[in-house]
């Protein structure tokens, strides 16, 4: 399949089951909600070493938030429920409780409830106050700027992590420009996050390593500088490969995000140095969810 001069490989991205949750951070204004959200989702690019994958889903207008203030929806994905709960609590405690004017609410209905502010309340040292409003339990924790208001729990649901595609270009700037365009388009899709820095991964990995201590290592088949010394998957004109990783609540959410992302890359086309779209395919070793590129773009 070729779109605007860009070859879409007949391959698929492999993804795996994860657990996910969403939280809403509000603040006096969007600036401070975003600062808190960025802190909370920092260092959460890959479960390989971060414990979770997290990202900002979108900015919320005041009429979309529980307390009528500007807000940001963030999502956190982890391999299991316990890990997710721990990451959520740790990050909320360090990055939202501490952030000026912030409040923290559940962003997902249903699923299994996991603690959001349920244990953070103990920071109140006995001065915390519970309030049940509209059937939901909230905690008011006295803090130095006033009160930190937080919902007790949020929902944890089954989700899919690791959807991806690779952008193969004639140069590094061209690959990056294409990925930036893809991310801008994909940000409009609900229920997904692209957890890597700016949504783009330059260090795509394969499963396993020659070093026993590592579970993943550089994807040498897609490293342009190794074209002559390994079993490469690159043609001579490819100088740079970048990856976009997508976590979503459902396979369909990731389908939608991949479609608009790949389309944005293809809109730049071969004229801008984009030659191929491929995907992280690990021979079925990584996970049960398969995203066939040509089917998605059909």
């Amino acid at each position: 399949m070729i779109i605007n001069g860009v070859t879409i490989d007949k391959t698929f991205a492999e993804a795996f089951p994860m657990k996910a949750t969403r939280a809403i951070i509000t603040a006096q204004n969007e600036k401070w909600a975003m600062i808190s959200a960025q802190a909370m989702t920092g260092f959460a690019t890959s479960v390989i070493a971060c414990g979770c994958e997290a990202g900002i889903e979108r900015v919320l207008s005041p009429d979309e938030t529980p307390d009528g203030r500007p807000g940001v929806a963030i999502m956190i994905y982890a391999m299991g429920g316990k890990g997710l709960a721990k990451q959520l609590e740790t990050r909320a405690g360090q990055c939202v409780l501490t952030s000026p004017t912030s409040a923290l609410f559940s962003g997902i209905e249903g699923g299994k409830p996991i603690p959001l502010g349920k244990n953070l309340r103990f920071f109140g040292d006995g001065f915390q106050i519970a309030k049940k409003i509209g059937g939901k339990r909230y905690w008011r924790v006295p803090v130095m700027d006033g009160e930190f208001l937080t919902e007790a729990t949020t929902g944890m649901v089954d989700a899919v992590g690791g959807g991806n595609f690779l952008v193969l270009a004639e140069s590094q700037p061209q690959a990056l420009a294409a990925c930036e365009a893809a991310i801008e388009a994909m940000k409009q899709i609900p229920n997904v996050i692209m957890p890597f820095p700016g949504g783009v991964v330059r260090s795509g990995s394969k499963v396993g390593s020659k070093y026993k201590a590592l579970s993943a290592s550089t994807n040498d088949a897609f490293c342009p500088t190794l074209k002559g010394v390994t079993r490469t998957d690159l043609s001579p004109e490819i100088e740079s490969v970048m990856e976009i990783v997508i976590d979503g609540l459902t396979k369909e959410d990731i389908d939608r995000a991949m479609r608009v992302g790949i389309q944005a890359v293809c809109d730049l086309g071969a004229a801008n140095g984009i030659k191929r779209i491929s995907a992280g395919n690990y021979g079925g070793k990584l996970g049960p969810f398969h995203f066939h590129l040509q089917e998605i773009m059909a």
Binding site: A103, F127, I129, K131, I133, G134, Y138, R140, G146, E147
Partner: protein, 271 residues
Amino acid sequence: MTSLTFTLIETPPSQRIDMSPLVCQKLAGLSLDQIAGIELQCGKQKLRVDQLFHITGSNADDISIVGSTGKLDLIGKELASGNISVQGEAGAYLGMQMKGGTINVIGDVGLYAGCEMKNGLIQIEGDAGDFLGGALPGNKQGMKGGTILVKGNVGQRAGDHMRRGQILVEGNAGDYCGSRMVAGTIAVMGQVGRYAGYAMRRGTLLLWNQPQLPATFNDCGLHTLAFLPMLFASFKSLNSRFADKAIAFNRVRRFGGDMAEAGRGEVLVKL
């Protein structure tokens, strides 16, 4: 199906009547004849329902009590679901230990309305007596959940020993409002009497007017509290002045107390 309606024959009845058998879950599936044969305690004698009421209708999930007086006690006791509508006054212990559903009263109600209720909604168009949402004498926990809305005034000791839930009063409250509260919220739009919050451990008294507080409450200053707009927003489905967006506020003077007790309670007064 039409509401199952009980119309009082003798108004007022000669003795107080225990209405606790006439709740939705106990009448579900019974024929009118079976309902007519239920015996109610009336003073020191037991009388059949049809000796006291005309019975019409069939929907046991929607009960109406017509021509009600202050001598009908224990209306809606342990109500689990459904709706009870009271046309007139109600006696003591309205909605006692209620678990769910709705009770609407057009007139005034007596002592201990909503006492020890666990969930559901009680709406009272008139006034309520003492110990609204309180604990039965000798018990340590009053209302444990749900909402009581009173459009008139309430008597003394509203929310005594209250554990959870909310009491909303459009009118005035008597002395000792929120006394010995363990937790929960009492909101009073009118005036409150003396000793508001007496011996409260936790919980919130939300007041529109400055009360005369016991000396064991301390001023915590002026504050903008984020939970208040959410609390007011949760009232929007009520048929009440509490549902009016214009009455909402988030700026209060906060008093902490009762310092003679745990001291974790608060009295929030609108600025």
